[in-house]
C-alpha cells in the first residue's frame, strides 16, 4: 500500500509499505478514504516529539471503509463507512470506564502520561496512522463510529479530532453566559473552539493569531473579533485594554509548542529544544486571563518541561484545565449541531491533495502557503473506488 513515510524533520514522502494485518482479535483493517493533516502533526514534522522514528506513518484524523475484522469484533462489518477517533482506547480500563477515552491506560505500552494515538510517534504508542491506504484499527467495537448516511465524508473526517478538540477546549473553559473568551490560534482547532464558545453562551469571542488570511477567515466563519499579535505591543496588556482592564474570563491555548511571538521562547523551545516547545501562548493565556478565570489548554506540548508563569496563575487564582479530547463522547452532540446547521465543519477545508503528493501537502500546511487552513489527503485507492462507483452510476443512468 501507499503510505506517508517520515524521513526526518521537515522531510516526508509517499512510499509503498506492507499492508497492515489483524494483530489482536478486536482489530479491524480500514481502507482510508480521507485523512487530514492536523496542526499537531506539525510538531512531529518539525522533529519536536521524542521517539518519532524514521519510517513512521503519521495521521490521526481519518475515515474509511472496513475491509477486514478480527474474530471478536461484533458491532462492525466489512463495508461499513466509519470515522475513527484519533485516540486509541480500550473501553475497559479505569479511565475508559469514566469516559476519559483520551486517557486510556491499555493502548500505549511506551508511556503512561499519554494514551495511544494513531500515527503520533512511539511516545503515543507506536501505531502507524491513517495517511495511508490502509490502517490497523484496534478495539474496533469501541473506537470507530459508523458514519450516519446524512453526514458528508468531509464533515466526518473533521469529527475525528479537530471539531471535538475545539469543542472540548471551549467546554473545559467552563464558559458562562456573557463570558469574554480569548482563543489563541486561528488554525482549525482554534476556529472550532471560537465557534463552540458561542454555542456555550459567550458574550465576546476574540481570536489571536499572526496569519492575516486565517484571521480574516475566522472572523467571517466564527463571527468573532480578531487580533494580530504582530500588531500589538504586549498581548497581556492588550487583552486587558479590550476587557475594561479586567482580563478575559476564559483563555484557550489552541496552538501548543509551535507558537511564534516570543524570541526567547522560540529560541529555547523550538530551535534549541531546551523546552518541550515554545510556551508563548500558555504564557499569554495565563497573563491575559482575569483573576479567578479559566485557562483551557488543548495545544500540544512535549513531555519534558516548559517555562510558564505559574506564580501568576497562583496569584490570580486561575483554574487550568487541559486534556486530549475524548472524541467519542462528543460525537452525538456535534452531529446534532451539524444537522441543525449550527456548525459547518467542511467549510474550513481549503486543500484536497493526492496522498502521492504528501511532501508538498505538509510543506503547504506547515508554511501556510496558498492560504491553507485544512488539508485533506486522498489515497489513490479511494480515488479509484470513487471513479468506479461514478462510472457504475453513469452506466445505470
Amino acid at each position: 500500500m501507499l503510505a506517508m513515510n517520515y524521513r526526518g524533520p521537515y522531510r516526508v514522502r509517499a512510499d509503498h509499505k506492507p499492508d497492515p494485518v489483524i494483530e489482536h482479535p478486536g482489530d479491524a483493517i480500514v481502507r482510508v478514504t480521507r485523512s487530514c493533516i492536523c496542526g499537531s502533526d506539525l510538531h512531529l514534522y518539525h522533529g519536536m516529539v521524542p521517539d518519532t522514528r524514521v519510517g513512521h506513518t503519521f495521521g490521526h484524523e481519518f475515515i474509511g471503509e472496513v475491509v477486514d475484522i478480527g474474530p471478536d469484533v461484533k458491532s462492525l462489518k466489512v463495508g461499513d463507512r466509519v470515522l475513527v477517533p484519533f485516540n486509541l482506547f480500550c473501553g475497559n480500563c479505569f479511565y475508559c470506564k469514566h469516559e476519559l477515552y483520551g486517557n486510556c491506560h491499555n493502548t500505549n505500552a511506551q508511556a503512561t502520561a499519554v494514551g495511544g494515538i494513531y500515527g503520533y510517534s512511539h511516545t503515543a504508542g507506536g501505531y502507524d496512522g491513517g495517511q495511508a491506504e490502509y490502517v490497523r484499527v484496534p478495539m474496533a467495537d469501541v473506537g470507530p463510529m459508523v458514519i450516519p448516511d446524512d453526514i458528508h465524508d468531509d464533515d466526518a473526517v473533521l469529527l475525528t479530532d479537530a471539531l471535538p478538540t475545539g469543542y472540548q477546549a471551549a467546554e473545559m473553559g467552563d464558559i458562562k453566559e456573557g463570558d469574554t473568551v480569548v482563543v489563541f490560534g486561528a488554525g482549525p482547532v482554534g476556529i472550532f473552539a471560537a465557534k463552540s464558545a458561542w454555542l456555550m453562551g459567550a458574550g465576546r469571542v476574540i481570536v489571536v493569531d499572526e496569519v492575516e488570511y486565517r484571521l480574516e477567515f475566522v472572523k467571517r466563519y466564527a463571527q468573532c473579533e480578531v487580533v494580530n499579535f504582530r500588531e500589538v505591543n504586549d498581548m497581556g496588556e492588550h487583552i486587558k485594554k479590550m476587557t475594561d482592564w479586567m482580563g478575559a474570563d476564559v483563555c484557550i491555548d489552541a496552538v501548543g509548542g509551535d507558537a511564534a511571538g516570543s524570541i526567547a521562547q522560540t529560541l529555547t523551545g523550538r530551535l534549541m529544544k531546551m523546552q518541550a516547545g515554545a510556551s508563548t501562548v500558555l504564557h499569554w493565556a495565563i497573563n491575559s486571563a482575569r483573576k479567578g478565570g479559566n485557562v483551557s489548554i488543548v495545544g500540544v506540548y512535549g513531555p519534558t518541561f516548559n517555562a510558564v508563569p505559574i506564580g501568576n496563575a497562583l496569584n490570580k487564582g486561575l483554574t487550568l484545565r487541559m486534556n486530549q479530547a475524548s472524541v467519542k463522547r462528543h460525537l452525538p452532540r456535534l452531529i446534532e449541531h451539524i444537522r441543525a446547521g449550527r456548525i459547518n465543519p467542511k467549510e474550513i477545508i481549503t486543500h484536497r491533495i493526492p496522498l502521492e503528493e504528501v511532501s508538498d501537502a505538509y510543506h503547504i500546511f506547515s508554511s501556510k502557503l496558498d492560504e491553507c487552513i485544512k488539508t485533506v489527503l486522498i489515497p489513490p485507492s479511494a480515488r479509484e473506488v470513487k471513479a468506479v462507483k461514478a462510472s457504475a452510476q453513469n452506466a445505470q443512468n
Partner: protein, 191 residues
Amino acid sequence: MKTSHEVDPHSHQHHHKGHTHQFQQDYPDEQQRPTREQLAHINGWGADLDRKDRPGVPMERTPPRFIPEPVGKLPQQPQHVEVLVSTERPGITPIFGTAQPPSGLSGMIRRAAFRWAENDLRHWLLLLAADRVNVVEGVADDLAHGKVPNVLAEMGIKSEWQYNKAGLVKKVAIAGAVVGTVAYLMRRKER
C-alpha cells in the same frame, strides 16, 4: 484588514476607543456584557448554554456512554516484535503498536532511554538523540537499497516554487552567500 486593536473592539458593548484615562476609577469595576438580544445574530448562540447539553460535563462520568459494556479482561495481543515498555508500567499493555521496532544504533539508544522512567529527563533526551541518529540511518538505508533520497522533494520544494517563489529565491541566495563566504574564508586561510 482591520483587527481589534485598530477599531472599537466590540461596538455594541464598548465605549472606550483607546483614549487614556488618568484614574483606574474612571473605568467600570466589572466588564460590560452584551445582552441576549445583542447576540441574537450569532448562529447557534447559547445552544449549549445549559451544562446538561455539554457532553464532557462532568469530565468524569460512569458508567460510560457510547461504548459497549466491557466483558471480562481484554485478550492479550501476541507479541512478535520488540516493543519498549515504560518503567512506569508493570508490563506490556494488552494492546500495543508494532510499527518500526527499535533497530541499529538508534535502537540501542532507545533501549538505553527506556531504563529510565518518563519522570526522568534522561529518558526523553536520549530518545531525541536517537531520533537524530535514526535520520542518518534512514539516509544510509535508502542508499543501501539503491535509492538516493530526493531531500528537496521530500521537503516540498515543488510547492515552495509554486506558491513562494520570492521566498525560495531569497533562501537560495542566503544559503549561497553563506556557503560562498565560508569557502572564501577557508581558501584565504589555506593561503
